[in-house]
């Protein structure tokens, strides 16, 4: 039987020194929801784990109009889903969180773990990308900040150097007249991995019709989740007619480079990217225009199944 030792980190510095001391033998764990599954499957075989859950202050969620949203790496997906500021200002992140597993797993899974696990299908990732998240990283050589777009390097691969930990994600405050939504498409309505996930964020000019900013991020259709820059540029500065949204959706389809797997063929995934980009843009636009969509309705929209 595989075994590992358990080391509890007392604080961030202690965690980093434990990781440095044990090098490749050690793996940090937070909620351990990915870790225990991968360990039992025999994929991950560390000699020891450094438990960072319990480091105080690292799970905080705060919002201020100046600095926006700060998510401590240990913030659970459930805490994000139920946070009033997230629901009010970062709907795509709230819907990403509500589409995620079930409550028992959400109570354990951390946002830092979702980001560091770097699955192309991670459900919080498209929204974090679309809200221009910056990563706070601390390691043996001190702290640094990296845009999330540069964090993902391949499935399961990140920009973290040995001994480094993700400490927080910072999302700038959305300007007025911003709306957003994430839609996860998966075979089952609960407890499944995304076949495709799309997050869109729209900000309107004061005239209420011209697009000031549009951000679209795609999940599960490439080696990493990514921003569909071409699709975004088709919307910026334009009036958002149904035609404009359709063109952006088509551009998103072209940006996707999915694979065939058990949840869908590459061709099917491309079709879904187009459909979901259009849908998320439509809802984001309505919300940006001032329409209030109760969270119960957003939750219904968040997961769209094949059957």
């Amino acid at each position: 039987m595989l075994r590992f030792d358990f080391l509890q980190a007392r604080n961030l510095r202690h965690a980093i020194s434990l990781l440095e001391r044990h090098g490749e033998e050690a793996r940090p764990v937070a909620g351990s929801t990915d870790f225990l599954v991968r360990w039992r499957q025999g994929f991950w075989r560390p000699a020891c784990v450094v438990n960072i859950k319990g480091i105080s202050g690292l799970g905080r969620i705060t919002y201020s109009p100046q600095n926006g949203l700060r998510l401590g790496a240990l913030a659970t997906v459930q805490a994000i889903e139920t946070n009033a500021q997230v629901r009010r200002r970062y709907q795509a992140l709230a819907t990403g969180a509500t589409s995620f597993a079930g409550v028992q797993v959400r109570n354990l899974a951390t946002v830092g773990g979702n980001v560091c696990n770097a699955s192309p299908a991670g459900d919080t990732l498209p929204a974090l990308l679309a809200f221009d998240a910056q990563c706070g990283i601390t390691g043996p050589d001190g702290a640094r900040i990296l845009p999330l777009t540069e964090f993902f390097q391949g499935p399961g691969r990140t920009a973290l150097q040995p001994g480094e930990l993700l400490t927080e994600l910072v999302l700038p405050p959305p300007p007025p007249r911003t709306g957003s939504l994430y839609i996860k498409h998966s075979p089952r309505g609960a407890m499944d991995i995304a076949t495709v996930g799309v997050a869109s964020v729209i900000t309107l000019e004061e005239d209420g019709v011209t697009c000031r900013d549009a951000r679209i991020a795609l999940g599960a259709v490439g080696p990493v989740p990514f921003r569909a820059a071409e699709a975004e540029s088709l919307l910026k500065g334009r009036e958002l007619s149904p035609d404009a949204l359709a063109q952006a959706a088509e551009a998103a389809r072209h940006a996707a480079t999915p694979i065939d797997d058990v949840r869908g063929t590459a061709a099917y995934r491309k079709d879904m990217v187009e459909a979901l980009t259009r849908r998320t843009l439509q809802h984001a636009l309505r919300m940006a225009g001032g329409r209030r969509v109760p969270f119960e309705e957003q939750r219904r929209l968040a997961v769209q199944t094949a059957f």
Binding site: R3, D5, F6, G54, G102, V103, Q104, N107, L108, A190
Partner: protein, 159 residues
């Protein structure tokens, strides 16, 4: 890989035990503490049969490293009833026929207890959302949802 000391408050009682560093909370409850009411269905977080309340929140105990729960409070299905009366959720499951083989039942009951703590008056839709992490191969869920709504109603009357 020496066992390490773990202090937990389980169903209101403080316990000190030694556990292997790679043990899950689920295996600790079942193997070390003989609290076998909590079931192991999948050991991967999918089925919900291992649900317990950890520091006030329902979690799949198969995904929790036992030592990461140091100092925590755990409620298992064994901690719900008193010698005289069942918990209203347990009573409602019996009356509404919310179970058949029973393998998933403790997990569904703990998920329901977790829901009603936060949201004492849930809609049927909210109940379904709250049991999304629980698999049942027998009931088809209809009677389960009815049972949880009945329990909510009764718990509101008592208050």
């Amino acid at each position: 890989m020496n066992k390490q000391p773990l202090r937990l408050t389980i169903n209101g009682r403080e316990r000190q035990i030694l556990v292997a560093p790679y043990y899950s909370l689920l295996d600790t409850l079942r193997d070390e503490l003989q609290l076998t009411g909590t079931k192991k269905g999948c050991d991967e977080g999918d089925c919900g049969a291992c649900t317990v309340i950890l520091d006030g929140q329902p979690v799949t105990s198969c995904l929790v490293l036992a030592l990461s729960a140091q100092g925590s409070e755990v409620t298992t299905v064994e901690g719900l009833a008193t010698p005289e009366t069942l918990h209203p959720v347990q009573q409602a499951f019996i009356e509404r026929g919310g179970l058949q083989c029973g393998y998933c039942t403790q997990g569904l009951i703990m998920a329901a207890v977790g829901l009603l703590q936060d949201n004492p008056q849930p809609s049927a839709e909210e109940v379904k959302f709250a049991i999304g992490n629980n698999l049942c191969r027998c009931t088809g869920y209809t009677k389960v949802v009815e049972a949880i709504l009945l329990a909510a109603e009764r718990m509101a009357e008592v208050e």
